[in-house]
């Protein structure tokens, strides 16, 4: 921006001197225009990227879902909602919906329970700060590993000859022969457990920050009113953490329903369809069966479900402001 187009320091308050009136007015209107356009300039890189790599693909996937034989076929035919009908009448789709819900709801609930438990322990006034620091690092550890690593690690631990079976056998809990990830009766529970292990620290850290933000006076006031530890927890801690809990739960819910890598690298959705999720189901339609039209229909359905969740999330965030 050059010196000449800059408005006088007090442009709004003082009339420009009469002789220069025209020039001043023009300069001001140009500068106002510039100032109006500046924010859009700053937003251009973001806008270009989001239009090309977010809006365009969404339009593309919706279009794909209404055609037959996209990508593989030169001239795909318009088939309306046929692909959706086919996906929605596929029993595996509903297995995937059910598995995704079981996986997600269990994960979110237990993430919350463990996260809150650990956060409360780490926030205890009985502990020295060094102890707290050490355990905080230990508790965050699982979160520092990428999903690919988490998957390989737990494949090692849950191997039929692995250390988990050894320990369970040694303590007489099981016979020590369980094929955790290869048996239809345990695979879903096993992947859910792995996801719980890798995801709780995110909850824990936010809740810990939340706990430290609760004013001490609230607890003191509760104590004066004769509230015990449990009553303080119910009537001070939980209500104070409520907004964080709701945000975290919604975010976790959105992310967990989208989990792909963990499932793909541990069970691949199997055995049979016992751990098939919406993400693996869609992926397989596209990259195993090469039916990109059906996969697109499934992907759009997944998008719609996520947008419903996002709607609640945005509404919740707005109500907090």
């Amino acid at each position: 921006m050059s010196q000449t187009t800059r408005p006088p320091r007090d442009a709004l308050a003082v009339r420009p001197p009469a002789p220069a009136r025209d020039v001043g007015a023009r300069a001001r209107s140009i500068s106002r225009l510039k100032r109006r356009l500046t924010p859009y300039g700053f937003l251009t890189p973001t806008g270009v990227l989001l239009v090309i790599l977010m809006i365009t693909p969404i339009v593309m996937v919706v279009t794909y879902s209404l055609l037959d034989g996209v990508i593989t076929n030169q001239n795909p035919a318009f088939v309306g909602f046929d692909n959706y009908v086919e996906v929605l009448t596929n029993p595996v789709f509903f297995t995937a919906v059910r598995n995704t819900l079981v996986f997600t709801i269990s994960s979110v609930v237990v993430h919350f329970a463990i996260g809150l438990g650990f956060a409360l322990m780490l926030n205890s006034p009985l502990l020295g700060n060094r102890t707290k620091g050490l355990f905080r690092v230990l508790y965050i550890l699982p979160w520092l590993f990428t999903v690919a690593i988490v998957a390989v690690l737990w494949r090692l631990l849950l191997n039929p000859n692995g250390v988990v079976n050894y320990l369970l056998g040694a303590f007489g809990v099981t016979d020590g022969q369980t094929e955790w990830l290869a048996s239809t009766s345990t695979a879903l529970a096993a992947v859910t457990f792995i996801n719980i292990w890798s995801g709780y620290p995110f909850f824990m850290i936010s809740l810990l920050a939340g706990l430290q933000g609760i004013p001490r006076e609230l607890y003191e006031a509760a104590r004066v009113d004769g509230a015990g530890a449990w009553s303080q927890f119910l009537h001070v801690t939980i209500p104070q953490l409520r907004p964080i809990i709701i945000s975290m739960a919604l975010l976790d819910f959105i992310w967990t329903t989208q989990q792909f890598a963990l499932i793909w690298m541990t069970t691949g959705g199997g055995p049979i369809t016992s751990t098939e999720m919406l993400s693996t189901f869609t992926y397989k339609l596209a990259f195993t069966r090469y039916d990109f039209s059906l996969a697109s229909a499934s992907a759009v359905l997944v998008l719609l479900m996520s947008m419903v969740l996002a709607f609640f999330y945005v509404r919740h965030q707005k109500s907090r402001d």
Partner: protein
């Protein structure tokens, strides 16, 4: 930010004294903490231990933490294999580029959101927030075609641009929040002296936003370093694969080299671990602010 940063202020406060009547409670608490640590950290210890074993000792019965075959062989194998070193190089190139580019683009956008009122601001804001919830699997199918059309399939640029789409919304929201905490008078003062908004941004806001930039940068790096689905689909040749895919490829081979997989996993988490140890404060700040303020 102050509230969020407190958990890391370890050495800042003196340890609290506990009256003796709490000893019983304290013992129970420490016991519970240790039990929790077993759940969170023992698997990681086992990963470390397995990376030093011979592959024949991985499933020995009964299992031992340290075996007679203890060695660094698995690490040597990986660090002398040019194919695997390439995975690491690729991951670093992609993750660092995504971090730098996301920060630049996000700072510009955040400046507009924080300092200007303009038509469509609310709508764009909602789009940025909502975009975070778009499932990667939905984008994957069109991306495949799109990247081929744009000639970005199996390139660094393709992966970098893709990851930016996932990191930008978070980075913009975080930086907007950060800029909002800085008084407007700071940049207005520079502008009154005749400087444009760019000068105000680079000379004034950026230098005092370093903590926010570090938080966002660390988080962005992690997302890019860890991403799996798009790295799997948008690259084809071995020389373009990243570390997570490299680990998966090790798993796909006929005989499982568990010790090598564990060594590769340890090597693969080192950057994130170092970032965490050095920037714990920012790290936690970024993590929580994202969730709390989004």
């Amino acid at each position: 930010m102050t509230v969020l940063a407190t958990p890391a202020a370890v050495s800042g406060r003196p340890a609290q004294r506990t009256p003796p009547k709490h000893t019983g409670k304290k013992v129970a608490l420490v016991a519970a903490l240790v039990l929790g640590a077993c759940f969170s950290a023992l698997p990681v210890l086992w990963m470390l231990s397995s990376s030093f074993k011979r592959n024949s000792e991985i499933f020995e019965f009964p299992p031992r933490l340290i075996t007679p075959g203890f060695s660094f062989d698995a690490y040597t194998t990986i660090l002398t294999d040019p194919v695997k070193l390439r995975f690491f190089l690729n991951s670093y190139v992609v993750a660092l580029s995504v971090t730098v580019l996301s920060l630049v683009v996000a700072v510009l956008a955040a400046y507009a959101f924080s300092r200007y009122e303009f038509w469509g601001k609310k709508t764009i804001n909602i789009v940025v927030v909502t975009v975070q919830a778009v499932p990667p699997i939905t984008l994957l199918i069109p991306y495949f075609g799109l990247m081929v059309t744009l000639r970005l399939y199996n390139t660094y640029q393709g992966l970098i641009l893709t990851y930016m789409v996932f990191t930008l919304p978070y980075a913009i929201i975080m930086m907007t929040g950060y800029f909002n905490t800085l008084p407007r008078e700071l940049d207005e003062a520079v502008k009154v002296d005749g400087a444009g908004p760019m000068t105000a941004l680079w000379r004034i806001l950026i230098p005092i936003s370093v903590p926010g930039l570090v938080s966002v940068g660390v988080y962005t790096f992690m997302i890019a370093w860890n991403e799996f689905l798009f790295a799997l689909t948008l690259t084809r040749t071995e020389d373009m694969r990243t570390v997570p895919i490299g680990i998966q490829l090790l798993m796909g081979q006929h005989s499982y080299e568990w010790n090598e997989m564990m060594a590769m996993s340890i090597l693969g988490c080192i950057p994130v671990l170092l970032l965490f140890l050095f920037f714990q404060r920012y790290f936690i700040g970024g993590m929580t602010a994202g969730a709390v303020k989004l």
